[in-house]
C-alpha cells in the first residue's frame, strides 16, 4: 500500500481536472477481482533467461507466456534484435527485461508488467498500455505510447513524431526531443518532454497536460501555455526522481501546456440543427 499513500501525499488525487470525466477510481482493497481470467500468478523472485537471436516473433512471445505459466515473475530476453511485436499482451505483474532493441509495436496492450529495454524501440511502442512501466534506455520511434491509458512510459533518448497521440491517461516521459504532432488529440494524462518539441505540439488536444523543458517549434490548434503550480512542480520532481532523470534547466524553467478548450463544442448545436429542435 506504500505507493498508494505516496501518490496521495504527492497530491495526485486532489487535482480536479476541468470538464467531465469518465475515469473511474477503485480502491485496491475492494473485494472485487480486477485481474483478467487469463492472467498468470507469478513469483517475482523466480527468474528465467533466454536467448531470442534465432527465434521467431511468435516463438518468443509464446516462450514468455510459458515461463509466466510456470510461475516465473522475472524474465530476461537476450538479443531481441529489433524484432517486431515482442512482449505484447501481458496482463499480469511481471519483471521483463529486454537486453537489446525492439522493432515496431513492442510491449503493446500490456496491463501491469514492468518492462526494461536496454536498447531502442521502433514505432508504436506500448500502444494502448493500461498499467505498469516501460523504461527504454535509448531512442524511440514515432507513435510512442499511442493511446495509452495508464502506467508510466519512459524513453531516456529521443522519440519520433506523434508521441502520445490520442493519449487517454498515464504518463509519458521523454528524455530527449520529440517530433511533430506530439500529443495530437490527447485526451487525458500527462506528458513530460525534457528536450525540444517539434511542430504542432498538442494539436487539437481535448485535455491532459504537457510539460516541456526545451524549445517548442510551434503549438498546435487549441494548445495553450498555462501557469505551473506547486503541485505540478512536486509532481514533476517526484516522477523525474523516480526514473533518475532531470530537467536540463531545472523544473522551474519548464513550460506547462493544456487545452484551450476553444474546440469544446460538444453541446452546441449547429445552426441548422437548432431550427430542427425548435
Amino acid at each position: 500500500m506504500g505507493s498508494v499513500t505516496t501518490s496521495h501525499e504527492m497530491g495526485l488525487h486532489e487535482e480536479q481536472l476541468a470538464g467531465r470525466t469518465q475515469q473511474m477510481f477503485f480502491s485496491a482493497t475492494e473485494e472485487e477481482n480486477y485481474t483478467y481470467p487469463w492472467s498468470y500468478e507469478v513469483d517475482i523472485e523466480k527468474s528465467a533467461e533466454f536467448d531470442a537471436a534465432e527465434m521467431e516473433i511468435s516463438e518468443i512471445n509464446l516462450k514468455i507466456r510459458e515461463l509466466m505459466k510456470s510461475g516465473h515473475g522475472t524474465i530476461t530476453v537476450n538479443n531481441p534484435r529489433a524484432k517486431h511485436s515482442l512482449g505484447v499482451g501481458i496482463l499480469n505483474r511481471l519483471n521483463l527485461n529486454f537486453n537489446g532493441s525492439l522493432g515496431y509495436f513492442g510491449c503493446g496492450l500490456i496491463d501491469g508488467a514492468n518492462i526494461r529495454i536496454s536498447g531502442r524501440v521502433g514505432w508504436s511502442c506500448a500502444e494502448n498500455m493500461m498499467a505498469g512501466t516501460v523504461v527504454i534506455e535509448k531512442n524511440a520511434g514515432s507513435l510512442f505510447g499511442a493511446a495509452i491509458r495508464g502506467g508510466d512510459l519512459v524513453c531516456k533518448g529521443q522519440a519520433g513524431a506523434r508521441v502520445g497521440i490520442d493519449q487517454k491517461g498515464g504518463t509519458i516521459i521523454v528524455g530527449g526531443s520529440v517530433g511533430a504532432f506530439t500529443g495530437f488529440m490527447m485526451q487525458r494524462g500527462r506528458m513530460i518532454i525534457l528536450g525540444d518539441a517539434g511542430d504542432n505540439l498538442g494539436d487539437s488536444m481535448y485535455d491532459g497536460t504537457i510539460y516541456v523543458a526545451g524549445k517548442i517549434a510551434s503549438l498546435g490548434v487549441d494548445c495553450v501555455e498555462t501557469e505551473m503550480t506547486d503541485l505540478d512542480r512536486k509532481y514533476l520532481q517526484g516522477k523525474l526522481d523516480l526514473y533518475g532523470m532531470a530537467a536540463p534547466n531545472g523544473i522551474d524553467n519548464m513550460v506547462k501546456l493544456t487545452s484551450g478548450k476553444q474546440l469544446w463544442n460538444y453541446d452546441n448545436l449547429e445552426p441548422t440543427e437548432k431550427k430542427l429542435v425548435l
Binding site: A82, S101, R120, G122, G179, A180, F181, D199
Partner: protein
Amino acid sequence: MCGIAGLIWKGGASSDIGTEMTQMLQALKHRGPDSTGFALYGKGEEGVRVLRFKVAEQEEMKTGFDIHKKAVERKEAVDARLLEMGAEITEKEDATEYAFRYHFKFDGDMTRLIDYIEDIDGVEILSVGKALELIKDLGDAAVVSDQYGLKGFQGTHAIGHTRMATESDVDIRSAHPYWAYPFNDVSVVHNGQLTNYWTNRRDLERRGHRFMSNCDSELIAVYIADRIDQGDELEDAMTRSIDKLDGVFTYLVATGTQLGMAKDVMGAKPMVLYESDEFVGLASEEVAIRSIFPREIDTWDPYQGEVKVWAA
C-alpha cells in the same frame, strides 16, 4: 507500405554490397513482396559505361505469343543503334531473356544515344552510368538477387526497394529504383504516396522530361534530375523537393559518390538510421540494418522534413 534501404561505406571502402543489400531487402520482404529493385554502385572502369535495359515485361514473356521473337529483334535493334551511333560494346551479359547488361565505350552525346535506343518500341533503359547498376524484377530480394547473380557485387554504396504496389501496376516498369534520366549514376527509391503527382508531371513533361510509367515515385527521380539540370547540388534539390512534393514520403537518392535521404514534413513514413565512422545504413525498419549487423547498435529515426547526404 513498401520497404526501402540504403547503405554507404564511407571513405571509398569497397564491400560486398550485393549480398548486404539482398539481406537488408529480404528482411523487409513483409513490407511488400511484389517486386524488388537494387541500385548498386560499383567501382566502374575508366571510360566504360554500364547500360542496363529491358526489352519486355516478365508478364508478357509468360503470356505473349510472339514476344520471344520480338525480344530478340528488339535486342538486335539496340545493338544496331549502339553501333550506328559509334558506341563500342565491350561486354554483353544476359541474366534473363528480357533484361540485359552491356559495357560500352562512347564519347558522343549520351542523351541522344539514350533517346535513340529508347525510341525502339518496348525497350526501356533501366540505368546508364559509370558506377550504377540498376536491377529490378518481380519477386522477393532473394529471387531477384539469384536471378541476376548480385551476390558478391563489390561496391561502395547501394539503395534498394521492396514494393507493395498501391499507385500503379505490378510490373518492372513500375518497380523501383528509378533512374533519373538522363543523368548518369542517379537513382531513387521511395516509400509513400505523392498527391500532387499529375500537376508536377504535366509541368515537367512540358519541359521535355520523360516519364516511363504511371508510378508516382518516378516523379521524384525526374524532379531531382530537373533540379540537377538547373544547377542544384543534390542536397539543395532534395531540400527543395520537401516543399514541392505533396503527400507522404521518405525517399533515398544515390549518385555516383553520394547517398541522401529526405522525409516529408509530417514524418509519416518510417526511416531508421545507423551511422558509424565507416558505415551509414538506412532502412524502413531496424531489422534490415540488423540483418548485416547482428550486434547491438545505436540507431535513431531522423525527424520530419529532414534531409541528409553522405559521401562515399
